[in-house]
């Protein structure tokens, strides 16, 4: 469904993403793992069409990333990305205007479950509330690819469980969910596939269960092993 071939992104002379080759298929939850600055966010931004790769190719259903693929790929950035004036309701209206796969009823239901007031301005929200609002907005799209960049950042332990539960509810045989996080132990129990990125390169990837069997380690332990010197 989503194919990335030797993807590289350089800023000046420095490669933020040096070489990523992977294939994302529907029906799986992917964990994009790596320490700070390993290139996870840049990679997601390239898939979302916010950053152009310096070289390599990214295609969704055979189409290069562009306006057409944005209809099928949902991306939740780490930062708050709303326009200044926006409330949750305004953001929902924006998504309704531009994304055919946006489910307005689901959005308001998610906002209610997360105890968020639709009329509250996002700029007035706490970081935890903003994180939940972003998540509700992104997960209300029934997209083929859903990318969540650090979805557990700024969220307390109780809300984290709610986030994980919501992500699981949204997983289906028709979509692929890609999540990046430092909180690997939180993801360990729900992921189907792990991609370890270090200094912009995929150092290891595979089916989570197969990796555990092959290395006789949990994903958390593999993470500690790979990034112990970072």
């Amino acid at each position: 469904m989503l194919q990335c071939q030797n993807v590289m992104k350089k800023y000046g002379g420095k490669a933020a993403v040096a070489n990523i080759t992977t294939n994302i298929v529907p029906g799986k939850i992917y964990a994009l793992l790596g320490s700070n600055g390993s290139g996870k966010t840049t990679f997601m931004k390239m898939v979302a069409g916010l950053v152009k790769p310096t070289s390599g190719t990214i295609t969704f259903a055979g189409m290069p990333i562009g306006a057409e693929t944005k209809k099928h790929i949902a991306y939740m950035p780490t930062e708050g990305f709303y326009y200044n004036y926006m409330s949750c309701k305004d953001a929902g209206n924006f998504y309704k205007d531009f994304f055919e796969d946006f489910d307005e009823n689901k959005y308001y239901q998610l906002l209610q479950e997360m105890n968020l007031d639709p009329d509250m301005k996002v700029s007035k929200m706490s970081s935890g509330m903003t994180a939940k609002a972003k998540l509700a907005l992104t997960l209300s799209r029934n997209s083929s690819i859903i990318m969540l960049d650090e979805p557990l950042n700024g969220i307390d332990i109780i809300a984290r469980e709610k986030v994980i539960e919501t992500v699981l509810q949204n997983a289906s045989p028709n979509n692929a969910i890609i999540m990046s996080s430092h909180l690997v132990d939180e993801l360990e129990k729900i992921i189907d596939y792990a991609i370890f990125v270090r200094q912009g390169e995929v150092v290891m990837q595979g089916d989570a269960e197969e990796l555990r069997t092959r290395y006789e380690k949990s994903i958390v332990d593999m993470y500690k092993e790979i990034y112990k010197y970072d």
């Binding site: 800023y11 069409g49 916010l50 306006a67 209809k71 991306y75 531009f98 994304f99």
Partner: protein, 254 residues
Amino acid sequence: MLKLTKYEFRKNMSAPIILLIVIGVLQVAFLSCIALDKEKYVALTFGLQTVAMTFSYFIILILSIASYSRELKSKSSYMTFMAPVSTYAIIGSKLLMAFLVAVFFGIVLAVLLPINVVIIGAKYDEVKNFTDALELLMEFFGFSIKDLIINAIMVVFEIMVNFYLVVVLAYLSITLSSTVLQNKKFKGLVSAVLFGVIYFGLSWVALKIPQVIENPTDYVEAFVSVFPTMMFYIMCIVAGFFATGTLLEKKVSL
């Protein structure tokens, strides 16, 4: 593109609303001074309002450029660039928004200014005598209302073309700064210099374009004579628009 324009307007509506309030307050002050016969303040409020309306052109110009520059530097650009629309539609929506606001203030100017002149004329004989004398003078030199309208259309057309030329070239420079020059030192300065060089370069080329009518004798001829220059500027605007859209499409890096 129209949907994006709606959000462009919503994002940038504060400044035009403030401008409109200022013009409105000055109009109320002007009418109050007329009603209270405060001659000195009539001139002051009328003058201030005319200045405010004229400056609205520059304010809209600056706001339009600043809003694009700010957006490319802020995370809210994700919202715009994640939408499944082409980069040309994104740029187009910003230009359309600037156009609509400029037209709106143009209409406000075109309506309020003559009304206020008529009100002053009706209230003060000296002004009435002055406008009557002006009309006589115009008749003497062979100017008519038709000439005035043609002249006004010509001026508005030239202003709009120049407005868009500046905006599109500024967009191109800002885009260059945020894409191909993104990791270069002094990128802001380089893009500002590029803007200056391109703008003055185009103005220099425009001066070299031969006039259709060397010595225009009336406003229609004057309009025809500057037409090739205006066409050249319009072509530059179109080229600048596509260059900006293409740069964003090929090199976007938010």
